[in-house]
Amino acid sequence: MDRNQIGKWLKNPGKMANKYSFHVVYFCTGCGIIEVPPSITTRWDAERFGIIPVATPRQANLFLITGYVSTKTLAAIIRTYEQMPEPKYTVAFGSCPINGGMYYDSYNTITSLDKYIPVDGYIAGCMPRPEAIFIGVTHLWKLIDMDKADGYKRYREDYVHYRANQEQILGELDWPPLFSKENL
């Protein structure tokens, strides 16, 4: 461990532990997933950054949205995201979730993801290389240090608006709201 960080660890152990143990949801939302297996295996070894994929969203705190999001997947993404315990971070991977990418005129993929769920960071490129994932993650560390990775807080605050946007695209949602007026 870095000696300089001992102070930080003593001051805010929860945040530091959270930061250095990203548990990624195992969900292949798009073609970007092709670069995740190389990065979690021996060649690039994401575990040195504390990244490890887990089976269920209930154990995870990082959601890598790997590539374009079709409307059918969007429903699955929202449900998965809502099941994750807080604090949770979302990183959109690839060009497509930013503005639609090369599928800007596709009738079945949404153009910008942050209208439906909060996104803490973007990794641009098609495909981003494994190094780009690591750079993205180290940037996310900095954001967490500065308390700027506040996507889950924004989701809680603006839940009404997010839900309205989700309903505008997906129609009537068949699951109850995550936050009702009482538990906000």
Binding site: T29, P37, T41, Y68, S70, M102, N108, R129
Partner: protein
């Protein structure tokens, strides 16, 4: 016992890709399975009608993430057939070598998926590492790791760099040297054998009835391979075998995939030996912005790593295609064969059977 409806995927550890299956189960036994694709549908065939012939190349390779190269190949072959372009001899050889490299990389990815899903993590790590070595070769050749956009109508984008074939042979030898270890720890391991033998049996009669292609068919002993039946690129210049098994179960399918990979490596060596040392690698095509292809239709097919890949293309004489329709091997294997193969199996074998049928979700959805 009570019947339950179980949703398997898309967020599931045993599921490779964004795909889901609705299972009707009684206890642990599957009574009925229903594939539910569409999570990756982008409407490629519609988008391609709105882009010019050359602009479509970045799109086609994204249809199948695991092996984009055969998608480029089939689209180039379609355009060539419609426009009447010939590929120079050296270009043909380079295409074949490139596609065989893609096949090996794709099979290594398949080995990763299979081993990872069953918990053979050591083998999974090896397979992914070896695939990465091949991706380095792709990167040297084309500049990109995953989506290469290297093939084009009339040939390939550029010639091999100096000494590329030597480095490729060295890499392949490095991977091939590991095959005994793969066999000992994975393919011929008793643990794995017990897990994969006798599940998801598709007999030859059933496979032919359900229109199966690729390894599903080869594992029942039928040598259905477009490279032999209707040779394209440089496959008619080399001599190669089509590995088959007779079991028809998941284990035979995986062994067919392994043997196919080894055969591909040998084929690359043969192709490199036979390749003309110099010569053009592409035929000049007109200005892509003004390129109009005469009206007509074409049906071309090739053998991708997953089986017969077809493309039906119609041109109405304009700058864009009028209609493009890909017939991908996973479409058949994932929607017809998978549903039948899962019946009567246990829930724990769903991922096992699905990967052995070599289903890739984006190929189904397109």
């Amino acid at each position: 016992m009570r019947e339950l409806k179980l949703y398997f995927g898309p967020q599931h550890l045993g599921m490779v890709g964004n795909f889901s299956i609705t299972l009707q189960v009684e206890g642990d036994r599957i009574i009925k399975a229903e594939s539910n694709p569409g999570y990756l549908h982008r409407g490629f065939e519609k988008l391609m009608e709105q882009r010019t012939w050359i602009q479509n190349f970045p799109l086609v390779c994204r249809i199948n993430v695991v092996e984009p190269d055969h998608m480029e190949l089939i689209y180039s072959m379609g355009v060539e057939k419609l426009a009447g372009i010939e590929v120079p001899e050296r270009g043909k050889y380079i295409r074949s070598i490139f596609c065989e490299m893609a096949r090996v990389a794709s099979h290594l990815f398949g080995a990763w998926a299979y081993a990872n899903m069953l918990g053979f993590d050591t083998v999974a790590n090896w397979a992914m590492y070896h695939r990465d070595l091949l991706l380095d070769m792709f990167e040297e050749l084309t500049g990109a790791r995953v989506y290469h956009i290297y093939l084009r109508p009339g040939g390939v984008r550029r010639d091999f760099p100096d000494g590329f074939t030597d480095r490729l042979v060295k890499t392949l030898h490095k991977i091939g040297g590991k095959v005994p270890d793969y066999n000992a720890t994975f393919f011929e391991n008793r643990l794995f054998q017990k897990r994969a033998e006798g599940i998801g049996i598709v007999t030859r009669k059933e496979a032919m009835r359900m229109g199966a292609v690729g390894h599903t068919l080869k594992a029942t002993g039928l040598k259905y391979d477009i490279r032999k039946i209707e040779p394209y690129a440089a496959y008619d210049h080399v001599d190669f075998n089509i590995p088959t098994r007779t079991g028809g179960d998941a284990y035979s399918r995986l062994l067919t995939i392994r043997d196919d990979m080894i055969e591909s490596v040998h084929m690359i060596f043969k192709l490199i030996d036979k390749m003309p040392k110099t010569g053009e690698v592409y035929t000049k095509t007109p200005n892509p912005f003004k390129w109009k292809i005469p009206a007509g239709e074409a049906y071309v097919r090739c053998e991708s790593a997953r089986g017969e890949l077809g493309l039906y293309m119609v041109s109405n004489g304009g700058t864009n295609p009028y209609r493009v329709h890909f017939n991908t091997p996973s479409f058949n294997n994932g929607l017809t064969v998978l549903e039948k193969a899962l019946e009567g199996e246990s829930i724990s074998d769903v991922g096992n059977i699905m990967i052995s049928l070599y289903v890739v979700a984006p190929e189904i959805d397109r």
